[in-house]
Amino acid sequence: MNIIICIKQVPATTNVQIDSETGRLKREGVESIINPFDEYALEEGLRLKEKFAGKVIVLSMGPPQAETALRECIARGADESILLSDKNFAGADTLATAYTLAQAIKKINPGGGSSTPYDLIICGKQAIDGDTAQVGPGIAEKLNIPHICYVRKIEEIKDGMLRVERLMEDGYDILEMKLPALITVVKEINIPRLPSLRGLLLAKKTKINLWNAEIINAEKDKIGMTGSPTTVKKIFTPPARKGGETISGSPEEIAQKTASRLKELKII
């Protein structure tokens, strides 16, 4: 079973803090990490590989330094990695990104359609910088394969069918889908492994395939900012939430004051 994992390198927002004086993001110490949801995607891919044999190929679009994220995937057990890097890819929105990744996947698999050498594409449910959750379904559409988002469990893979649980607001749906297909996964699906020392040593030496727009036969007006229907008009920091009253006293006093304040404000 051959699996393609799409990952994104993102700033570690866990380290992003807001400067209380200026209300701005503190940029010191913002390191780059693999988008956390993509770690679940990679882990699920590695588990399927261990179960069914095959290859895990990791794909990412980003600047040259996104290579470190791909090396980390190799360290955890991915077999191959491809970095899509080209000045012309810059400024892509989700549509242009989905197109670019889909073009690359067609290149990994020149056949296209149903007789594909890849069986499954796995993405994280969304990236923590953009939070859009749009690229996964976009890739599936561009490749004309079915997709299911928010997968919390792969129940079974049998006879070219994938049976999954899709997380919903009030429970989960059980769905079946014909392979090849794309899924996006949520945190609940697994606990990602750490890299191994041998993996880390291997990752240091492994060649990362670098592909540009030409290699993937991307049409110029469909990539980067040119190929992006959306543009950012303005970026601003939301007003920081201000603190209110501190209620102190004995537990009983605190409880009483709180209850009466909430009632006053008609919140309860």
Binding site: L194, P195, S196, L197, R198, G199, L200, L201, K204
Partner: protein, 385 residues
Amino acid sequence: MDYFLSEEQKMIVDLCKKIAQEKIKPVRQHYDEIEEFPWPIVEEMAKTDLFRIYIPEEYGGLGGSIFNLCLAVEELSKVDGAIALCLAGTALGTFPILLFGTEEQKKKYLPDIAAGKRLTAFALTEPQAGSDATAIKTTAIKEADTYRLNGTKCFITNAGEAEIYTVIALTSPGRGVRGLSAFIVEKDTPGFTFGKKEKKLGIRASPTRELIFQDCRIPKENLLGKEGQGFIVALKTLYVSRPGVAAQAVGIAQGALDEAINYARQRVQFGQAIIHFQAIQHLLADLATQVEAARALVYSTARMIDADPEKRVTKESAMSKLFASETAMKVTTEAVQIFGGYGYMQEYPVEKMMRDAKITQIYEGTNQIQRNEIALALIKESASK
């Protein structure tokens, strides 16, 4: 301080930090309380190749560096010295095979040990024979193609969980330490059972049990080295393993120091964070200096062993273990003091660190024995001048 670690060494440190922070920290209190072997964590260590660090590449290892092992043990010990011992204790049980094993023995045992599939333990101590190895009573009597073991070993780290034991026993009773030999004994060998599990002050996640041999027959191929070499096997094993104990001590000390500094910055008394009091500042300064000095000594010793495995490191090895373990005890005790009443409570991590630190002054040779070794080396050095 910059110890000019190689890229691979930085990798080991980073990975162990991740394991410690992400996997061990959330469960350290739990394992301390239930006093059970942390198998899920040990499996994590196996999957991430930590058991490969100190084993040569030809047996599935990553090169066999003692220094690299020390880096791993220190990093894990910063969060939990007891769980780190699962790794360090296995290294201790493996050293006799690494140092004295035949090619067949190495090929048979090391790949599984490197993969973390089988843990090991080292068995020297007996109820009547702690620091004094001449008092060992366990016998291994040769009978045709086998040795028959009888006797009891006590306080054995990893006992019950490990599958491979390196055991020191008497093959020629009456010949003192020259009558001792070393053996590999596998778990589930008939006649080999485990005694009671000890309740301990600290390192509670690490099992400490008796090994009981009652007419336990092992094939003669399981002899490590030659008959009569048992004492040498034990000594050489301890020379290379002591930096590991020292690294554990440095880790515990650093962990406690970090907790203390953090706490001192947050804890407000008399209208200010207590770190602003000079009494606390000078104390922290002293502790930090001692931890760094201990680390420098341990790293240098470990590097010395790696540079020339044939070189005698008795003195340096003893010094590292002595100084680092005394430092660990001092730092953890003072950390509890800085935490005040909270430090004494199990809700905060430093009381456990203090309990865990104590063993580093005792096992693999008490610090009194370390001083004997150092003094003996001094006398020898002076006499040979």
